[in-house]
């Protein structure tokens, strides 16, 4: 499956940020949809992103031409499926710049990755051991640690955020001592858009011998990630937020740390030898991939990575920043709009409240104008509590969005306010 071949490369010189949407929108069939009689404006990318034809086709082609269970037989289709699956692992390795493909585990996504780590790392933690989270974590990086706390009595410490939505890094060293077993932090906040200084965090944590887990779910759609440069110990993300399929994601772990982890689920493919007396487990990554794997998903994820590699990511990021700036200015010009998250380094995510308009009503009224946003607590209830609000509306953008779409969002907000005030 050669995905990028027919299209001109778009990562060469001359790709100005402003030219990106026109160039890429034809690749995303869903962007041509109408919603309530209007062209769809999709600003719920942080919940899930849309898929380019290359990804849709890669998944369909697998089922049409190559479908077989991976690692299980010697017939031709099994060989094709297995090779494609392992090639996808190599693609993910390159995508995050891991040292070896054996450091990449295919899992269902970020949530499953963190649960695996809480289960595996927590196996020999004891009451009084500490995991450090931050106040801006998604529930996926809170609840697994609480489940572990119920089982073992570990302590959960929370690194605070400032009103502007940045981590209070100065408070980190005080939380690091011989009882601290892990720092688990999000790379990019799904509510505030804040991009956290991971390299700085790993430096501080490693100075105390503490490993760092990074939730990369919101980072991978927007920036090049280099796990070696950041020197994080674990990094996880979900395919569906980076233009790939749902139900597939990856966990990166440093080889020696993965090797020290116990299995996650038991079953086929994660063993080397089974007798009723004793079972020997496979080495990573197979140790953590029990049962029939989501081969179509992994292949679709690789197609998404290939697709992204045809883009100039720096130009895409510059375009996203232009979208963010236009949305921020537009909301400020409306007046009566409170924006949560004012960090100088932000992904194109903007959470806000309109005075006198409940987020949920706003969501419905924006939908009436064809504009899709997320409303609610964004799976970050502790962060909502910090700001003292029950819910916000969030517009999250991707490189395929246009400045005109941002203007339609701003107009739709003005319309909603008119209706409700």
């Amino acid at each position: 499956m050669n995905i990028a071949a027919e299209r001109p490369a778009r990562n060469g010189p001359g790709w100005s940020p402003g030219a990106i949407p026109d160039a890429v929108r034809p690749d995303f069939p869903i962007l041509g949809e109408q919603v309530r009689g209007l062209p769809l404006v999709y600003f719920d990318n942080a919940a899930t992103s849309q898929k380019p034809r290359a990804v849709i086709d890669a998944v369909a082609d697998f089922y049409r031409h190559d479908c077989a269970n991976v690692h299980r037989a010697v017939h031709t289709l099994a060989e094709r499926a297995t090779l494609a699956y392992e090639a996808a692992r190599e693609r993910v390795r390159g995508f995050v710049n891991a040292a070896s493909a054996n450091e990449i585990v295919f899992l269902r996504g970020t949530t499953e990755s963190i649960n695996l780590l809480a289960h595996g790392l927590g196996r020999d933690w004891q009451a009084g051991d500490r995991v450090v989270l931050t106040a801006m974590e998604h529930h996926a990086n809170i609840v697994p640690w609480q489940l572990l706390r119920e089982r073992t009595g570990i302590e959960i410490a929370v690194l605070p955020v400032t009103e502007r939505g940045e981590l209070v890094l100065e408070a980190l060293p005080d939380l690091l001592d011989e009882r601290t077993r892990l720092v688990a932090v999000t790379h990019v906040s799904n509510v505030l858009g804040t991009i956290n200084p991971i390299a700085e965090i790993t430096r501080l944590a490693h100075a105390h011998g503490v490993p760092v887990l990074v939730d990369g779910a919101q980072a991978v759609p927007h920036m090049r990630v280099d796990v070696q440069a950041m020197d994080c110990d674990f990094y996880c993300f979900s395919g569906h937020k980076m233009f790939g399929p749902t139900g597939i994601g990856a966990l990166y772990g440093k080889a020696d740390l993965l090797a020290a982890l116990p299995p996650w689920q038991g079953g086929g493919e994660m063993i080397t030898r089974v007798t009723f007396e004793r079972t020997r487990y496979a080495a990573p990554p197979q140790r953590f991939e029990a049962g029939t794997q989501h081969a179509a998903g992994a292949i679709g994820l690789a197609a998404a990575i290939d697709y992204l590699s045809t883009l100039d990511m720096a130009a895409a990021a510059a375009h996203e920043q232009a979208l963010l700036a236009r949305a921020t200015e537009g909301m400020q010009a409306l007046g009566g709009v409170r924006i949560f998250g004012q960090a100088p380094h932000k992904a194109p995510v903007i959470s806000f409240l309109v005075e006198g308009v409940h987020a949920h009503d706003l969501g419905t009224l924006l939908d009436r104008k064809g504009v899709a946003v997320r409303t609610g607590h964004h799976c970050a209830m502790p962060l909502m509590d910090f700001y003292g609000v029950p819910a916000t509306t969030r517009a999250s953008m991707a490189f395929y969005n246009t400045l005109d779409e941002v203007d339609r969002l701003i107009e739709a907000i003005a319309y909603a306010r008119e209706v409700l005030q």
Partner: protein, 151 residues
């Protein structure tokens, strides 16, 4: 506003949202229940003073979207002074009009509550409208009801 939106955000609803009725604490309540809709962060508290089989007083507090606030506000107007049996019957009627396209509705009895019927076309919003009604039902069923959630 488009016709479709008028359906959902009728003037009655907007008015109740701007100036909800019986939006106050009730120090002598003998039934209190919290209700929340985690999907959108609506959080309401319903207070009732039930004497014998009569609802002597009903009020609510909290924050929510226009639909949930208006629904709670209308609930309190309808049920002040009603019997428990009336309240249960009204719950059933409201529930039917909100969730069942084919339900036969007693429009006269529902009165301004008919304004809520527009949510039927917004499946994601039905829970907003039913939130306070589920709270009512739980409060009538038990003296110490568990908090209600509609997700």
């Amino acid at each position: 506003m488009s016709d479709e939106m008028e359906d959902l955000y009728q003037e009655v609803i907007l008015d109740h949202n701007r100036r909800p009725a019986n939006f106050r604490p009730m120090p002598d309540a003998n039934r209190t229940i919290e209700a929340d809709n985690p999907l959108c962060g609506d959080r309401l508290e319903l207070f009732l003073r039930v004497e014998g089989d009569r609802i002597e007083d009903v009020s609510f507090l909290g924050s929510g979207c226009a639909i949930s606030v208006a629904s709670a506000s209308m609930l309190t107007e309808h049920l002040k002074g009603a019997t428990v049996a009336d309240a249960e019957a009204l719950f059933a009627a409201v529930h039917a009009v909100l969730t069942d396209e084919k339900a036969t509705v007693d429009e006269e009895r529902l009165g301004n509550l008919m304004a809520l019927s527009g949510v039927r076309r917004y499946p994601m919003r039905v829970k907003c409208a039913t939130l306070s009604w589920h709270a009512l039902k739980a409060a009538l069923a038990s003296r110490r009801p568990d908090p209600v959630t509609t997700e």
